[in-house]
């Protein structure tokens, strides 16, 4: 293989060199005179002028460096032997474990999935976090981000869901991760006993942004392979997608592309969608579920990264002030499992509680403005307090059915049966006896006339 010399330009992490017969997207190795080598990828061809991005970054590259083109696109090692291992953001083992160089490789960023080969998602993933399981269910093959802000326990939440979900394989991708965060994930996966079915790809905060661009593709290629070839149910955890988007921005600017919005390029939507759309329940095979963290600069959901993400994903969990906000959060797939894969009363209890919680927030507003409070307002305030303690608190860990029972109990403690505006048969079956027994007979008729779905919301 030819060593090409004569680097013409080094700009950021991008170099230009003259060479013939080079393929678009091809992988190359850059050999610096100081002995350092780095992989690089062809990102533009203009006659015999070749533009490459260097994964380890442009810093320290000499014009005396040589480039060798490898004749194939970027690939990553993929076999069962990668489980329990840690790799760099470019897919190189970094844990000092056994050599993997003879293992099979898969192409990254391969063709997209034929929509015809997808099935409608239908399996609930239980996380034992009531704000998720009860109000915004996570469904197998869903793609959903945690929208959050710096300082919130988003990595804890991500790890907790990862461990709780009973996935066959966990693929973790860290982009721009601090060492502490990396250590937290590594340690948690180890101590919770899931490490043997986990593979980690970590691009550290100190690693190059070019490498950061590869990390999601590498993780997803591996996940997809496990799902398609081995019919495994794979959960992909990625944090932080904003760091990834910022890397895209940086490289775009170095390439002198014209940004469209706050410095981000016009193709941010397509770029993110190309990754997120790999979440899939494959017809007759496994599945890929994607859960990510998207930190929102300035807690602004209209910032281009969360905004474009929201247009792509199937809802979002909004984590702020150590709670998962029931209003800002949405699982667009929840209707596929509620009541069919979960208990019959699930939908009704969840809707009723959310309705009352919305009422509670209104009452709190009235209270703070010193407006008159009615009896109902007082009840709502009490409910609001209990709801926060029993369901919203970040540390609550409770199985779905227990959470539903607790929901009934809380409702019974705060309201009379007729105020619930729920179906008679559900009230009879689930409302705790003591609270309900006497009132029930008389009030049934009222409840009967009402449907449980989002009833009269006059104010």
């Amino acid at each position: 293989m030819i060593e090409h010399t004569g680097i013409l330009e080094i700009n950021g992490d991008i170099i230009k060199i003259k060479a013939k017969g080079v393929r678009y997207g091809e992988l190359a190795t850059l050999n610096n005179p100081n002995g350092r080598t780095s992989p690089a990828q062809v990102i533009r061809l203009q006659g015999d002028l070749v533009t490459l991005q260097v994964f380890t970054g442009g810093q320290g590259i000499s014009t005396g460096a040589t480039v060798r083109f490898l004749g194939h696109p970027m690939e990553v090692i993929c076999s069962d032997n990668i489980l329990g291992r840690v790799f760099s953001g470019a897919g190189q083992p970094i844990d000092g474990g056994p050599d993997l160089s003879m293992e099979p490789q898969v192409e990254i960023a391969g063709p997209s999935i034929n929509p015809w080969m997808r099935v409608v998602p239908s399996n609930l993933i239980r996380t034992n976090i009531p704000m998720i399981d009860m109000f915004n269910c996570l469904v197998e093959s869903q793609k959903i981000p945690i929208f959050t802000v710096a300082g919130e326990p988003y990595n804890e939440l991500l790890a907790r869901i990862g461990i709780q979900a009973d996935a066959d394989i966990i693929v973790f991708a860290g982009m721009g991760l601090t060492f502490d965060d990396y250590h937290f994930f590594w340690n948690t996966f180890q101590s919770q006993g899931v490490f043997s079915r986990t593979v980690m790809f970590v691009n550290m905060a100190s690693d190059s942004v070019v490498e950061r661009l590869l990390t999601p593709d590498i993780a997803l290629a591996v996940a997809e392979r496990f799902a398609v070839e081995d019919s495994r149910r794979v959960l992909v955890l990625m944090t932080d997608m904003t760091a990834y988007a910022d890397a895209l921005k940086e490289v775009g600017i170095a390439m002198e592309q014209i940004p469209s919005n706050r410095g981000y390029m016009g193709d941010l939507y397509s770029t993110l969608a190309f990754r997120y759309e790999r979440a899939c329940d494959f017809k007759g095979a496994g599945s890929v579920t994607i859960l990510t963290v998207t930190t929102m600069p300035g807690d602004d959901v209209t910032h281009p990264v969360p905004d474009n993400t929201g247009f792509i994903t199937e809802g979002q969990f909004y984590l702020h002030d150590r709670i998962i906000d029931p209003f800002g959060s949405l699982s667009r797939l929840k209707q596929l499992v509620i009541g069919t894969k979960t208990r019959e009363d699930h939908g009704a209890v969840a809707n009723t509680m959310i309705r009352f919680f919305a009422g509670a927030k209104e009452a709190e507003k009235k209270q703070s403005l010193a407006f008159e409070l009615s009896d109902t307002d007082e009840k709502l305030l009490h409910f609001g307090k209990l709801f926060r303690e029993r369901f919203m608190d970040f540390n609550v860990n409770i199985a779905l059915d227990d959470a539903l029972n607790l929901g009934w109990k809380t409702l019974a403690e705060c309201f009379s049966p007729e105020e619930l505006l729920m179906k008679e048969d559900l009230i009879k079956k689930y409302l705790p006896r003591a609270a309900a027994a006497e009132d029930l007979e008389a009030e049934i008729t009222v409840a009967e006339a009402a449907k449980d779905v989002d009833l009269v919301e006059v104010r």
């Binding site: 017969g21 997207g25 997209s112 034929n114 099935v119 409608v120 939507y269 792509i312 779905v453 989002d454």
Partner: protein, 603 residues
Amino acid sequence: MVNTAIPTESPQLESALARVVEVNANVVTLELEQGNLVKNEVAYLAVGDQSLKAEVIRIQGNRADMQVFEDVKGVRVGDRIVCTGELLSVELGPGLLGRVFDGLQNPLADLAQTHGFFLPRGIYLDALNRDRRWTFTPQVKVGDTVQAGDVLGTVMEGQIPHKIMVPFDQPHRLAVSFIQEGSFRIEEPVVHLQNGSGDSIRLSMLQRWPVKVPLSKDMQDRRLVERQYPSEALVTTIRIIDTFFPLAKGGTACVPGPFGAGKTVLQQLIAKFSEVDVVIIVACGERAGEVVETLTEFPALLDPRSGRPLMERTIIICNTSSMPVAAREASIYTGITLGEYYRQMGLQVLLLADSTSRWAQALREISGRLEEIPGEEAFPAYLDSRIKGMYERAGVLRTRDGSVGSLTILGNVSPAGGNFEEPVTQSTIATVKVFLGLTYNRAYRRAYPAIEPLISWSRYLDQLQDYFRTHLSPEWVEKVKFSLELLKTGDTINQMMQVTGEEGIPLEDYIVYLKAQFLDNAYLQQDAFDDVDASSPQARQVQSFLLVLKVLEAEFKVATKPDAYGLFTKLTSLFKNLNYSVLDSSDYQRYEQELETLLDQNA
């Protein structure tokens, strides 16, 4: 059937040879070696043993830029390109209905059968099945003279009489010299036509048409067909649309809204329940999962008008967000061309595009790679004219046999940050006749469909006055405007209450506010997940709206605000239950009766 080699389908067209000189993602620059270049022609780029479809979009000297419809990994400078001279085209003929195609009309089910889970590049299958037979019934006889767009015969495509027509760009009058009845494959000649000098052409049931050229344009210029003014409402069975912001057959509409506001759910409802003959869904740069839901649901649902599975009247163009972006740009035109084709048969066609913003972004991505001078938010300067040109393909058309067809276009718009002050939303609003603005606020309150009545509008409410007078009720339009006014007043009062509390406003104002809330809760909102409420046909809407008006126009004699509140709570609850009851069922009658009684007692 699998067509991986470079096709030689149009031997009459000149083809040119060229080589790759530059590659910038999916924009590839070529240098011409032989022949001529044609703007917007299709070219095939050879990579190894594959050939990738592309479109020539800019010509400069002997160089040209093309957008490649596929991933260009592995392309080298010097790779060979064959230019076909043919514009990007689709196949037209029986067998389109009920199918799912990508943006270039590749049939996805067939691709899944031949290639499994993924969409490999460089594979182009026939859009229409070549082996299936259709029973052709001639409508003309030997000796008749025909011209562009004339009906030669029909075949039954499911429930729809599918007209086989003279090619729409045929410049001459021709004599029928041969026509046969019977069962044929779509490529078999069924008719021969002859010109004055005795040259004859053979026509089968299959035609091709370039997607970026309006199908009836040429015939319109020659006065063979006539564009008409929309004059009939398109009934979607969504109350807030049909009553307050109506669509017209042959009209245009847009649905902008932030993410999660309910654009897609609304389009799915419209696709399901609209009273039209053909629905074309263009899933343009959005989630594949949403298409899968439609695909799973539609074959099992029946079209109430025909009693046949909904899928039989539906075509899905599926170029979702992870599929190549250049094909996304083409996908809307592919959908529109199929729509124009069915309109040409005198049918009522509805095209739903989700989302036109993704299409506009595709234009932006390509424009950026061409290093064109960017406009606002880096969109190209021609964004506005492209949007106008796209919607202009909607319309009502009197066809050659006198039947009147329509193509209605409804496009979703996904404005960044939900802010309507951005180029795509602004150009779209300046183009369409109906604006259904979804807001985060209403979605957050779960007031679905989250169309904000205070900002939405429809030009057809006035334009179709005569239709509403004769079909619905004599004072319909006035009453609708009265109700919209009431919503505005109610909102003003509500804002006042935010400052002063309930105690700060007079009882009369409070009642107006409650009336506005009632109209919103009982009529504007509609439960998409309830079997009955999901769809409210026109006749039912008229009944309901007249009943709502009784409440809005009543003078209530209540003494206190809590009394008024209690009364309206009951009215709303009764009305919601009425909405959930099957029309004229015993429940329906009971709730209606109770409502009337409650009204009589208090007004």
